[in-house]
């Protein structure tokens, strides 16, 4: 059944086809975090990929910066319904980081400093779809937005782009991460509005 809301006309009218259903444009950069913002010094920062064999691939900040760095121009979509179009980032492709990783597992748990987790299929991290990002619009990434480095996985709702990223762990089967255990969708495609369970 459909109802009308008397007196409501709407004045945003964001007809941009780049905007997924149910989203509105913002020029702002809202912050959503479940707890206090961790402060991570790049001197102690490290990023790891851990596979089923127990092998740990490890990069410190200096090693990350020595890898090929890409400029990324992309739209981002938060499950709380704001979207930002044509944002600019710099980061290292996950294709580069996975180049020497040997795994037969198809799912990944992202782990953050501060304990946050979120799950994603490996296929969504590869083929030019995901980065470890450390600059936003020409500036070092603010801690509130996940600095010094966050995952950038823009084709899924932005909670899948873990802030303060510290590592990826390969998983045999898809397991729910933090928000996924608290009511959010296992995959999170914004164009299919995969918001909640």
């Amino acid at each position: 059944m459909s109802i009308f809301t008397r007196g409501f006309s709407g004045r945003g009218r964001d007809n941009n086809p780049a905007l997924p259903p149910g989203q509105y444009l913002t020029e702002d950069f809202p912050v959503l975090s479940a707890g206090p913002t961790p402060r991570i010094d790049t001197d102690v920062w490290e990023f790891t990929i851990t596979t089923e064999s127990g092998t740990v691939h490890r990069w410190n900040w200096e090693q990350l910066m020595a890898l090929p760095i890409e400029d990324i121009h992309t739209d981002i979509h938060c499950v709380t319904r704001w979207s930002k179009l044509a944002t600019g980032w710099r980061g290292v492709s996950l294709d580069t980081l996975f180049a020497d990783v040997d795994t037969s597992y198809e799912y990944v748990m992202e782990h953050s400093y501060g304990g946050y987790t979120t799950n994603v299929p490996l296929a969504d991290l590869l083929d030019g779809q995901a980065w470890i990002a450390f600059e936003f619009e020409g500036e070092p990434l603010d801690p509130e937005h996940g600095g010094p480095a966050r995952l950038l996985l823009p084709h899924l709702y932005f909670w899948k782009s873990a802030k303060w990223i510290r590592g990826l762990t390969m998983m045999a089967e898809d397991q729910p991460g933090f928000w996924e255990q608290n009511g959010y969708h296992m995959y999170g495609d914004p164009f299919k509005e995969e918001r909640y369970w």
């Binding site: 109802i3 009308f4 809301t5 008397r6 409501f8 809202p30 913002t37 009511g183 369970w197």
Partner: protein, 240 residues
């Protein structure tokens, strides 16, 4: 968690809370009840079929098919000016929820609770205070509520009336203080936090909700003064 499908809700009452905000009571047949701190998706449909959806925290909790929202008007907003200025009893909206399983307080929780709210960020905290009062919980609650001026407080009279030996209420005024207030206006700082909020403890859960800058500042103070970040839950709105 029941989130499938939209339920029609009818406005039963509205009440001005602040110069820019009000509370809205609704009857939502089929509403499954909710835990304090949860939020809801609200859908508005214009006569030409155009729709807008926003999430709002619920000021209400518990069983029953009546819910309450409290909304602050964002000057550039598409939905909040309508909800604050135009909506009236009898109008219909659609609802999906309740949503969220993290920023919540359940009456069976026994640890002490520190609530810290900024502006309209107090709404989910009010739900927790009401749930605490209704359940006769022995947990000790404290609320530190920061507003620009006395008239900017949501649910001011109700909160004051609920204060008792298990619920302690402290006001912080950032721009204008009431007549005779002992201290000048100012932002919540470390001195105030250490003076009026619970000390760090494994028997404490802290909930902070407000504008991003407020939540960042306050949660940093808590971490700096020894609170375990894992026992500090936050909800932010607006940009940084």
């Amino acid at each position: 968690m029941v989130t499938s499908g939209w339920k029609v809700g009818t406005v039963t009452a509205t009440r001005t809370q602040t110069p820019t905000g009000r509370s809205i009571d609704l009857a939502v047949p089929g509403w499954p009840g909710n835990v304090a701190g949860q939020h809801v998706d609200v859908r508005l449909t214009a006569p030409d079929g155009y729709r807008a959806v926003r999430s709002y925290s619920l000021a209400s909790s518990g069983p029953g098919e009546s819910i309450q929202l409290a909304v602050d008007r964002l000057p550039e907003g598409e939905v909040s000016p309508y909800l604050v200025d135009d909506l009236r009893p009898g109008d219909q909206l659609e609802f999906r929820g309740p949503l969220g399983g993290w920023f919540v307080w359940r009456p069976e929780q026994v640890e002490n609770v520190q609530l810290i709210g900024g502006g309209s960020g107090v709404v989910p905290l009010v739900a927790m205070v009401r749930s605490h009062a209704a359940g006769g919980s022995a947990a000790k609650f404290r609320l530190l509520y920061s507003v620009r001026a006395p008239e900017d407080a949501f649910f001011a009279d109700e909160l004051a009336a609920l204060a008792n030996d298990t619920f302690e209420l402290t006001w912080a005024y950032t721009r204008t203080v009431p007549a005779g207030w002992p201290t000048p206006p100012g932002r919540v700082n470390r001195e105030l936090v250490e003076r009026v909020t619970f000390a760090p403890s494994p028997n404490l859960m802290t909930f902070i909700c407000g504008p991003t800058g407020f939540v960042e500042a306050v949660s940093n103070i808590l971490v700096d003064t020894g609170h375990d970040p894992a026992r500090v839950k936050t909800e932010r709105f607006g940009g940084a």
